[in-house]
Amino acid sequence: MSNQPSALVAANVSKSFGGTQALVDFSLTIAAGEVRALVGGNGSGKSTFIKILSGYHRPDSGAQVVVGGVTLSPGDPASSRRSGARFVHQDLGLVNDASVLDNLAVANGYPTMAGTVRGRASRAAASRTLDRVGLTIDPRIKVERLSAAEKTGVALARTLAGLSDGEVKLLVLDEPTATLPANEVRQVLRMVHAVAAQGVGVLYVTHRLDEIFELGASITVLRNGHRVLDGSSSDMTRHDLVRHLSGSELDDARDEADHTAKVREDLALEVSHLRSAQIDDVSFGVARGEVLGISGVTGSGREIIAGLIFGRERSTGGEVQVSGRRIRAGQPRESIRNGVAFLPADRKVESGLMDLTARENLTISSLREFWRPPLFRRRRERAEARAWFDRLGIQPAGGEELLFSKLSGGNQQKVLVAKWLRLRPGVLLLDEPTQGVDVAAKAEIHHQLLSAASTDAVAVVVTSSDIDELVAICHRVLVLRHGRVAAELAGEQITVAAVTKQTLVSDGSGQQILSEVL
């Protein structure tokens, strides 16, 4: 295969958003037939890199990306596709209630005669395509009946459908196994190798450490947009990886958390035997003044537990008590009335009012104090908004009347944090509070959470995929696995290594190996 051009040669790729550098002078080469794991925490820049490869983002000038010997024109998805780069995203993008055959043909067309689909020929072509990833399933069955690994296989096969060997140069898989059980992960890895064996370079993005070693791939580690490690999995230990994945940027927050901790005796929040589709019997309590972190991989229940406690959706069992009072399930209004606040992860969809002003976003949590019928005290509202802008250093100063969508991500998030702090909640639930937020805003939000806990005795619950963040600000960390609390770490036990280990280990065997290493 040495006579083939490299599947990917990326050099000097940088990308900044506003003032934030998401990717700094990144270079990566993948040979034809090579499987390369790209590892990095939240905000490390790995997704930004993928989006540059797909032409979704245009890199800063000076970057050069060559796929299979063809130089990509930056920010042009068509050029990326022509060069032979293909992408499988985490959600796969399959149509669940259509057959495997239809899913494969949607992208590449059916064999037809006089405009009519030739059934048998279509099935034969589909089976051949599935063969190439090592899948033997009847293409007529519906996708929804497949196992998770088989679905991933269909998505892989779809990228190859209708193309002969060698036309696809680079296959990018974005966390394909994030929600898969361990036994199915192996099946996916086999399929990935089957594709690579045909001379396709594979870029495999993951944050599960145990599968990297099983993948037997070369590894590139990204942190805060910088490449921090490049090597072969056989040359490194898990320990190296964990060490490189975490950084020291959040030491200030860690200091503050250690020195101001004032965890009270009484519980502000008690969750007992909570259940839902993805949560299987979770119980814990949070004391006033405590910052509790919840870790877990995607699919572990981490991303829904905070919303479930708040009542974004209805739980199917168990109960939530706030200061000893039981809260009815699925009732955001009642939760708020009982002093529970919830900041969802997705600003654009679940918390931000993009076409209203920053002031309106900030005050919506309670308008009562501005309402003296028949007049709405706009001036008082403005003064309050301005005070919060000052207190959290929200930029631009005096930007209360700007449209919310005009603020940067970090400032938007600060406005939303302020919106809930205003209510002086007893319990503050935050899902990914600093996702997509620049470093300065991150530090400010952490400071606000810690000071709310220590001075106002708020019970703070942070669910986050950013382990550094949890380690920096939490007094106690719960790790969820398959909808259950799998581990609890407190005080000195909370280290990046320990939380990473508990979070990323997906089954018993991996845990054994890991505990020897760490």
Partner: protein, 361 residues
């Protein structure tokens, strides 16, 4: 980062309606001596009053992200009911009006029920309701236009002259002020705007979404009822005027959302839009005398207004209008490409949450 926009500017976009209005007036004054007279002023002012009442009523659900396409039919129903209560049931004018307004409110309440409890898209529910009302109207009238009440007080109700204007124009201004107060100066208005902006965020902020959407539809039904009564007194109990007013009302509401506070449905922008359109139509009518002007004007205005609002928004650097009407009836697609992700400050989520309401009880 954008600076706050406190530059002195002519406001060519925010006030484009006013500029256009001035241009029309200058142009037609120069063109025909018929135009710049107090008679024209008075006839344009009160001639648009009924459409204006309907428009400001329509704004309330629009602000909350719901369509009320049944306002035309509702106005028709109350126009007939207010007459029949007087002529067939021999009720006084006051009682007839009260009962007819209540009927409008009831229709709004049924719309709200369909949208909030049955979770039918408001566009569909009120479109269907309009058709049902038209059918009911045919049943109750036998498709014959009832004769208007003979009591002169009935026509004086709207035709009384106040400073040269028919009093219906004053009613319109009063209703506009009330709706403006509700939308801009009460928590109710704020809640509706928040719901219209992002239903899910509103719900998670503790706003009772279903309740306010329901109330907004009751408001539009009630005000449509008033518009029907006014029209009936002004022009007689027509069976068809309401449907003819629906499109101009929507045109004015959307055109109004490009004025004064662009991107927001607002009362005074809509009032300006109504009179700019009416002035243009009146002027061209004087000059050309053709019949098709008003349909053409209103249709083009609606298309232009919505296109312009979308263009303005995209030009401001946003990939998607938060409340993109074309997206409102589509489901959010789950494309991993667009999922918000760390380190990516420009990640844009796909489309707006649906307009259909998540109800909480």
């Amino acid at each position: 980062m954008d600076r706050p926009r406190f530059r002195i500017q002519l406001g060519l976009d925010r006030f484009s309606g006013l500029y256009l209005w001035a241009a029309f007036i200058v142009m037609f004054t120069a063109w025909t001596p018929l135009f710049f007279t107090s008679a024209t002023l008075h006839s344009v002012a009160s001639g648009q009053a009924v459409a204006g009442i309907l428009t400001v009523g329509l704004l309330i659900p629009l602000v909350a992200g719901a369509f009320d396409l049944s306002v035309g039919a509702t106005a028709n129903v109350t126009a007939i009911s207010v007459v029949q209560l007087q002529t067939l049931h021999h009720l006084g004018i006051a009682w007839s009006i009260v009962l007819s307004v209540a009927l409008g409110a009831l229709i709004g309440a049924v719309n709200g029920f369909l949208v909030v409890v049955f979770k039918i898209n408001s566009f569909i529910a009120t479109l269907a309701m309009g058709s049902v009302l038209a059918a009911l109207l045919t049943i109750f009238t036998n498709n014959e236009q009832p004769s208007p009440p003979t009591d002169p007080a009935w026509s004086r109700l709207t035709q009384q002259s106040v400073g040269g204007f028919q009093i219906v124009f004053i009613y319109f201004l009063i209703i506009a002020v009330v709706v403006w107060w509700i939308l801009e100066h009460t928590p109710a208005g704020r809640y509706m705007r928040v719901i219209g902006s992002n239903t899910e965020a509103a719900r998670l902020s503790g706003v009772p979404v279903g309740r306010w959407v329901w109330i907004s539809l009751i408001c539009s039904g009630t005000i449509a009822g008033l518009a029907g009564i006014a029209c009936s007194s002004l022009l007689g109990p027509s069976l068809t005027f309401g449907q003819a007013l629906l499109l101009p009302a929507f045109a004015a509401a959307f055109l109004g959302s490009t004025q004064l506070t662009p991107g927001r449905f607002n009362v005074w922008g809509s009032v300006i839009a109504i009179y700019v359109l009416a002035t243009g139509i009146q002027g061209f009518q004087f000059v050309t005398g053709v019949q098709w002007l008003s349909d053409m004007f209103n249709g083009v205005a609606l298309i232009a207004a919505v296109a312009f609002a979308g263009w303005r928004y995209r030009a401001a650097g946003n990939r998607l209008r938060p409340r993109d009407w074309s997206q409102a009836i589509r489901h959010r697609s789950a494309d991993a490409h667009d999922a918000p992700e760390s380190g990516d400050l420009t990640a844009v989520s796909n489309g707006a949450p649906e307009v259909s309401q998540a109800e909480e009880k």
